[in-house]
């Protein structure tokens, strides 16, 4: 792309030239050229396995490239040690920020370099005042004597960024920082990052949310299969083009024909859990896909978990397939025809150490067991094979530990697990989180296919565009109440309107 040269008359803070890295059996990066300018936020996108992690690991000094050079300032490296990388001002803020939970904010900021008195002891007064002063300089307000375990996720992420900057970081790599943030928190985080940029900070921003890339980045680089596809000014490109660059083909937003039938599958009647949600009335039809959305903390998350039995549900009546739904535990929910896809796949979705086969059949073991609780292995294999085929799960074998699959395939395994219970109602919580664009399409196809089989589906998500593409109806929750409804086909069903409803009338962009 020829846009690269004319972007800014700024100097590159970091360039990578001709970097290649091969693992046994996989060429992860092939002569990658890439540079980040001083004072820019540089988006880095690409589907899982495109080489982002490898590239970042090389920048962090964790991996040594097979060939190529890294240029920081006026110094050239073939490979750095992690220590050198830090010394050169490269910092990494991961998705799950690792903090010293039981220590205070101030200690976390100054860890490893606490101010000391003349006699060599830690000067606690100074620790707190200095931490406060540093945060003030960045315009971040926080009680520095508070323990980190008492902070929210966004605050922790901002603290991590601040920490990196205090460590004289010149280039901060943000790896999916918004994955578990609400919209307001995302706004706060973006405002913070932008303010830092204005003060001269440089960032590499890795994200699956292409909208966010447009919202915050100056330039964006696309990686595909270990190659740089190109770098572009965000001002000169749009989402479809970006997607084309990423997947190498033109992928439209997913759209589908409604499979909604008249028959009612589930009725929620006056569901209420104090402090989370109240007066939830909902009717769900066969083959219908409903989107549930709202700000974080508005109660949708708890509603989903409550329906499934991971959390207390509170009072209210639920009728599922003409029977009273009484499940209070996941297994009972499965048995009564409701399945749930948790948001955090690594923590709740998969038992990563165990095989694909075992993961798929966990909830249906009761149906597979014969005499003495023994599992009918033949039948199990047939079932698992069926789902591997139907959902197109790419795995060398059924026995592959689930953690060794790619993100999208892992999610498909979770889907296979849920599908195996043959549910009447499926509750999906952020089903496309952490999977690449192509796998997203696969997942929508799976959802579509299940709806076509008559399963009623509730998708709890903040990806409004995706919801619009997939759902028959979208319900918005505000402070624990369902406040607005958007129906497919109505012209109100636009991202802007839904966003407005979510934010309670105030659009905050």
């Amino acid at each position: 792309m020829n846009t690269t040269e004319k972007v800014m008359e700024r100097t590159p803070i970091l360039s990578v030239e001709g970097v290649s890295k091969a693992f046994p059996g996989v060429q992860a990066l092939t002569s990658v050229d890439f540079c980040v300018m001083d004072g820019e936020i540089h988006g880095l996108v690409g589907k899982n396995g495109a080489g982002k992690s490898t590239l970042m690991a090389i920048l962090m000094g964790i991996l040594e490239p097979n060939e190529g050079t890294i240029i920081i300032g006026d110094q050239q490296f073939h490979a750095m040690s992690p220590k050198e990388a830090i010394e050169k001002g490269i910092a990494y803020v991961p998705q799950h920020v690792a903090m010293m939970d039981s220590l205070t904010v101030a200690e976390n900021i100054l860890a490893g370099e606490l101010p000391k008195t003349k006699s060599g002891f830690v000067n606690w007064k100074k620790v707190n005042s200095e931490a406060k002063e540093r945060l003030d300089r960045l315009g971040l307000e926080m009680d520095v004597t508070k323990k980190v375990e008492g902070l929210g996720v966004a605050e922790q992420t901002m603290l991590a960024i601040a920490k990196a900057l205090f460590g004289d970081a010149k280039l901060i790599i943000l790896d999916e920082p918004t994955a578990s943030l609400s919209r307001t928190d995302i706004n706060r985080l973006f405002a913070f990052v932008k303010s830092l940029k204005d003060k001269g900070g440089s960032f590499i921003y890795i994200s699956h949310h292409l909208e966010e890339v447009f919202e915050i980045c100056d330039r964006v680089t696309v990686l595909r299969d270990g190659h740089i596809v190109g770098t572009a000014d965000v001002a000169e490109i749009d989402v479809p083009k970006l997607i084309v660059m990423m997947v190498g083909e033109d992928v439209e937003d997913y759209t589908r024909e409604s499979t909604c039938e008249d028959e009612t599958v589930m009725v929620l009647n006056g569901l209420e859990r104090r402090g989370y949600y109240e007066n939830i009335n909902l009717e769900l039809h066969k083959g219908e896909i409903i989107g549930l959305t709202g700000l974080q903390g508005c109660g949708v998350e708890q509603l989903g978990k409550g329906l499934f039995g991971l959390e207390p549900r509170g009072i209210g009546e639920i009728i599922l397939a003409d029977k009273k739904f009484t499940a209070v535990r996941p297994i009972e929910s499965f048995n009564q025809g409701l399945a749930y896809l948790p948001q955090d796949r690594y923590r709740y979705g998969l038992v990563g150490l165990r095989s694909v086969r075992e993961n798929v059949t966990y909830p249906i073991l009761n149906k597979l067991v014969r005499l003495m609780n023994l599992i009918n292995g033949k039948e199990e294999k047939i079932i698992v094979n069926k789902y591997i085929g139907e959902l197109d799960i790419k795995t060398p074998s059924q026995e592959q530990p689930a953690r060794l699959l790619s993100g999208g395939n892992q999610q498909k395994v979770v889907f296979a697990k849920l599908a195996s219970t043959q549910p009447s109602v499926l509750v999906l919580h952020e089903p496309t989180q952490g999977v690449d664009v192509r796998a997203k399409m696969d997942i929508f196809r799976i959802i579509d296919a299940m709806a076509a089989q008559g399963v009623a589906i509730i998708i709890i998500s903040t990806e409004i565009r995706e919801l619009i593409g997939v759902c028959d109806r979208i319900l918005v929750m505000n402070d624990g109440r369902l406040t607005s409804e958007f129906k497919k086909g109505e012209k109100d069903m636009t991202p802007e309107k839904i966003l407005a409803a979510i934010e309670g009338g105030k659009i905050n962009e």
């Binding site: 996989v26 899982n48 297994i331 165990r354 966990y362 597979l368 697990k417």
Partner: protein, 345 residues
Amino acid sequence: MNKGQKRDWVKIILDNFIWLILTVLFTYFAVNVPNFTSKTNLLNILLHASVLGVLTIGQAIVLMTGNFDLSAEGMVSLSTILAMWLMIEPGSVVGTAQGSGLMLNPYLVIFIILILGTLSGYIIGVLITRLNMNGFIVTLAAQLVLRGVAMIVSNGQIMTGSPKAFNWLGGAKIYGIPVSVIVTLLLFVGVNYMLNQSKFGRELRAVGANPDAAQASGFNPKRTITLAYTIGGFLAAFAGWMLLGRLETAVSSLGSGMTLETVAASVIGGVSLKGGIGSVGGAFAGVLLLSLIDNALNLMSVDSFWVESVRGFIILLALLIEAQKFRYKPKVVHEKEPAVASDCK
């Protein structure tokens, strides 16, 4: 492609390292230690492996859920003392064989101690899962309490004179093979098969590997862990029964030091201390290794003072292997896995 296969070999070797060591050691001892391969001695090795083996099954099950059980040896002590106390005469001699005088039927006593073991395991499980107490220390404390009660009941004395019917499990032979060996082998084969094929086995490993996901998959981790401890308690009492039958003597110090051996045997046999991985069959190999070494140390004239150190070194070695296993990172499968791609062409 070739490289990938080579790495898998590394994994296979690491996974089955224990059997390799076992074979090598066995051959070495067979050649170098006189009488090692005699039928009596081979049966002896299995006999040693029996009580330890039964305890190790319990330990391995608990370890698979990602927990520890240090209480089993206390249960061995209490179950033997209690059984003896219920069965023998009140002591006529000062400070000896102070039975309760209940003179209960041996079969009833067996039933009582098995129930007791099960119950104590259950209570420990409840303390850990419901009250969120640290399993390591809870079971350590339970060990003390159980052994303490054994001391109180026995008044610190040695008790002898258990009835034949009770001793059958530990002392009798069928066709020249000790019953305890047969029972232990059957237990291992049975439990191993059960855990590999049953729902409960799945549940154990799922809970051990990731309790949250296991819960969301329809399991009940608290119940599973409690059940694992309950089984552990039952097996500990069972091991006590077996041990008492073999020794015909009960004393409150019985079983001391066995906990460590069960953990070591399990780890050597490939059960992960982090839970979720391993099999009872592997643990059996660990048990065999330990009793093989004990036996060989007894047959060779190793200086008495060295025995403890040698055992410590062996456990350390086993750990080293376990540690290497976790340092070995299997290759991550990418979407463009050659295996899949080649199928297309």
